[in-house]
């Protein structure tokens, strides 16, 4: 009997059921994908209530900023704000996988035309370089995939690796559909590198690249934002997650991934600097909303000057910001000079 049992329930009963699932953010995320009724309930009620309960100061601040606007939800919606609180952007969205060996000059100045595409140096054995190639080739298909998501501003990617966390079925990688192809592309990149990776390790590598539930406390506060920005941006209000954020242990170094949001981004000094400087956007899409491109704050000189570079061209701290003011980035340990 395929009766729609849930449709017999009134909204408050459905919300009663949902309220019993609030401990793990993944439950609401999955439910929001089931149908429009669930989706609208979760977006408009559940996530809003959860944000107001867990990060009331941030909500109050953001509400002040948009009080003149007709909608009372923060930019990107309550789903974005909730995701900011609980989800680490992953190495992909924090820009860790971008090529850095030339101090980011290729992104700034454009590619070096002297070398043809086929002569590009092959990726070395480090997983991050291979991932960069895999991710850049799949980033366009990631963008396509984001386009195909029907719900507007759906910040929870349906192909979130949380899905893979729960169902890992090797047979699915054989399917010839968009999802399958992409996964095979990324997966093969790692399998080549890994050597004797078993399924668990493949999944573990996978998880750290895409956005996932952050380890540590799920909170946003302003102090961390002050630590990040250069002194002339002290007037801007940036909320960042608590230190150290979600720690990723990689081969070369450890990354402390953070995420945050600007209050009133379009009226901030950072925005003015980016806009006036006519900065170009990077092909890293925001993990928290549907923005396809972001700006690099490091090369826009918005971060504090004492954070320099490592020997191999990697910046000590990097941050990427989207149109809605969502920030994703990564700290690394400062190099010790003898």
């Amino acid at each position: 009997m395929a009766d729609t049992l849930f449709s017999t329930l009134s909204d408050d009963v459905v919300l009663n059921i949902f309220s019993k699932l609030e401990d793990d953010p993944r439950h609401w995320a999955r439910l929001a994908c089931v149908c429009t009724k669930f989706s609208s309930l979760i977006r408009n009620v559940c996530w809003k209530a959860k944000c107001c309960a867990t990060i009331p100061s941030v909500v109050a601040d953001l509400a002040d900023a948009t009080s003149s606007a007709s909608s009372s939800s923060p930019p990107g919606g309550w789903s974005s704000l909730h995701k900011l609180a609980v989800c680490c952007p992953g190495l992909l969205h924090a820009g860790v996988l971008l090529e850095n060996s030339d101090f980011g000059l290729e992104r700034e100045l454009g590619p070096n035309e002297d070398f043809s595409r086929s002569d590009r140096p092959q990726p070395d054995s480090s997983s991050s370089a291979t991932a960069a190639n895999a991710s850049s080739s799949s980033s366009s298909s990631i963008n396509c995939r984001e386009n195909s998501v029907p719900v507007d501003s759906c910040s929870w990617s349906l192909y979130d690796d949380l899905y893979f966390d729960t169902v890992y079925n090797t047979s699915e990688s054989q399917e010839g559909v968009q999802l399958g192809d992409e996964d095979v592309a990324v997966e093969r990149g790692y399998v080549k590198v890994g050597g004797d990776t078993n399924a668990c390790k493949r999944r573990k590598i996978w998880r750290s690249m895409r956005s996932h539930l952050a380890s540590g406390v799920w909170n946003l506060c302003r102090e961390q934002g002050n630590k990040l920005l250069a002194s002339r941006f002290r007037g801007d209000c940036l909320y960042l997650c608590d230190w150290p954020g979600c720690v990723h242990i990689e081969e070369k170094r450890n990354y402390m991934l953070f995420r945050g949001v600007f209050k009133n981004f379009k009226r901030s000094m950072v925005w003015r600097t980016i806009n006036d400087g006519n900065r170009s956007k990077i092909d890293v899409n925001c993990a928290f909303c549907s923005c396809k491109e972001t700006w690099d704050l490091h090369s826009a000189f918005c971060l504090r000057r004492i954070y320099g570079y490592h020997d191999d061209g990697e910046p000590v701290v990097r941050a990427y910001i989207c149109e809605n003011g969502h920030v994703s980035g990564a700290w690394t340990d400062l190099p010790l000079y003898t």
Binding site: T4, N16, C35, V151, Y159
Partner: protein, 163 residues
Amino acid sequence: MASSRKITLRSSDGESFEVEEAVAVESQTIKHMIEDDCADNAIPLPNVTSKILAKVIEYCKKHVDASKAEDRVNDEDLKAWDAAFIKVDQVDQATLFDLILAANYLNIKSLLDLTCQTVADMIKGNLFPVRNEWLNFTFSIANRELVLVCLTEWVAHRRLFCS
């Protein structure tokens, strides 16, 4: 000692149930009806069938008995009884949802919480992933019907959902 006045409840299919007042007032709805003096004759419950009403009465009776001083049942045992009462193979899913509706209509908070928690646990245990372009649920045998439920909801709303 509470008065042992008997209240008659009539289900939607005409069956009458006689219960003690203490049991009947577990339902806030019935309690208000009694207070408003509407309970001289049988109280009609047009939204509840006899099958469901019988189960609700069974639940309320157990909980009233459990709180009586002479018969005190400790919390653990009561929880175990609740779990057995609502167990999915005892109570099929249609009945579970009917119980939710009845508990909501009759305003019995503890039964409503119990049934909603059961559905929540089924959703949790299921861990079904959703892809919206074409549906490919993987699900455990026990929860197949719940997934079908959600699947039908999706299909019904697909045109709106995929616009």
